[in-house]
Symmetry: C2
């Protein structure tokens, strides 16, 4: 079994690292906040004080951090893994970052014979805990095959999309669809509420027809129950949507509905709710 | 078993009437176009030449026609059922029309002791054929119970939303969500395509995660295969969305994403494609 290094122990990363430990993998971790590390140490993980110290102990390094800057720091920064990882180490970056940044990082790592996959995920905290994530993989197919058993522990739908960056493109598509689905649920619920109709019954009816979606199940329930504990934080969804709009801008295409969904996330965050679940967009539509 | 009158033998109505015949109901039909009637006559339906002639032979009259004007014509018009239906006849209007129109029609029928339910459906042609529609019912609960066995033949998710018109409100919510889902899929696919990424793989990955939806399954497939045979015609979805916007206007609420989705349906129809499936919105986004 390959030795795994794991960097990023947030809402998603922590249950993913636990699943790998419980599947029998040796897992080394690096966490900026020591309290994030302790539950993993209790299950057998070994903690290191920087990505650079961690890297030589790993055959495969998984990163799942907040944004492009964080990925660059842990991989390429002053104490990044690039300075110490063994040749043929495979980096699986499961963060959501710009496709173009992924391509640039992969090229830099390649100069040290380090392989990279972009492998962002969908399925939320629940999917991370249950090991049922959807994993969208960009990079070389033969490298994916070498780490597939590891990804099989984390997810149930592992799709090789294409070359470096294509996993991030698929994730961008995912974020477009989820943000617009939350807007759609919000608008439908506003219409029903203003009409004096029972939202729970509307949701029940819609779940049985063509409007059925995971979003209506999960986010529709949150909205009905007015329970916006994340889940997936508005600030992160907002960050992802700005990546989408930047990508669209570079490609010269317009995405008006994605743009509006991003406005809503902007408004939610600017009203002081960055840490609510992104379905709280209902509150500002 | 109640004797059923069935008016409206389109994409949805025809398989629904067939399912009732095959479940053993006596079904009388009225069809404007005789060729729509013949496959039902072959299965035992009895055809009448007007709604008025049909009505006395039915305990329950189902209507599923295109718009408010059509519903008013068959129920209240010169040859409408109102002139001849027996007291305690139950009209189940499964068309998608304005909630406020439904309430007005129900009140007029009540003057002749005719009961009415608004019971629009979701689930598409496939749901109509398989008898798995979601049925959103507005009107009196005791009247619904009297026709539930009939609705059980047509659908699998029959939800009593509330009083007259509330079924139509739920359907409006359904149409909002589907139109915005089609826009979302279109935008995601445009981003993927412009990025040179395989759309089929993106769809496969997204179906396994939080972006999973019936819309991505059904409409996503149509878009990938460039197959816009309806399904649900753009002209009808457009009509439904204008009902939604009119409703929102009357309630004094704004639905910006629904408004944009309606713009897209307008554009599709005005470019000469009223009879394509509404997922062809992809072509004009």
């Amino acid at each position: 079994m390959q030795a795994i290094g794991f960097i990023g122990l947030g809402i998603m990363g922590k249950p993913m690292a636990l699943n790998l430990l419980r599947a029998g993998y040796a897992v080394s971790i690096y966490a900026r906040r020591p309290d994030a590390a302790s539950p993993l140490i209790a299950e057998g993980a070994k903690a290191y004080s920087s990505p650079e110290e961690l890297a030589p102990h790993a055959d495969v390094i998984i990163t799942i951090v907040s944004d492009t800057a964080d990925v660059e720091e842990v991989l390429l920064g002053k104490s990044g893994i690039i300075h110490s990882a063994k040749p043929n180490t495979i980096v699986i970056d499961m963060s959501t970052i710009a496709a173009i940044a992924t391509q640039r990082i992969a090229a830099q790592l390649a100069t040290k014979l380090i392989h990279m996959l972009d492998a962002p995920v969908s399925g939320g905290e629940q999917g991370a805990i249950q090991g049922t994530l959807s994993i969208m993989v960009g990079g070389k197919a033969d490298i994916l095959e070498k780490v597939r058993p590891i990804l099989d522990v984390l997810g149930k739908n592992i799709v090789h999309i294409g070359d470096h960056g294509s996993g991030q493109i698929a994730k961008a598509c995912n974020q477009i669809m989820i943000s617009e689905a939350i807007v759609a649920i919000s608008e439908a619920f506003h219409l029903a509420k203003a009409s004096g109709v029972d939202l729970a019954k509307v949701r029940e009816a819609l779940l049985g027809g063509s409007a059925n979606s995971r979003a209506l199940e999960v986010y529709g329930k949150r909205i009905l129950e007015n329970d916006y504990n994340p889940g997936f934080k508005a600030s992160l969804h907002r960050k992802d949507m700005h990546l989408v709009l930047e990508q669209a801008h570079q490609l010269g295409i317009e995405l008006p509905a994605a743009n509006y969904a991003t406005n809503c996330l902007d408004r939610l965050v600017m009203k002081g709710h960055p840490d609510l679940d992104s379905s709280a967009v209902y509150l500002v539509t």
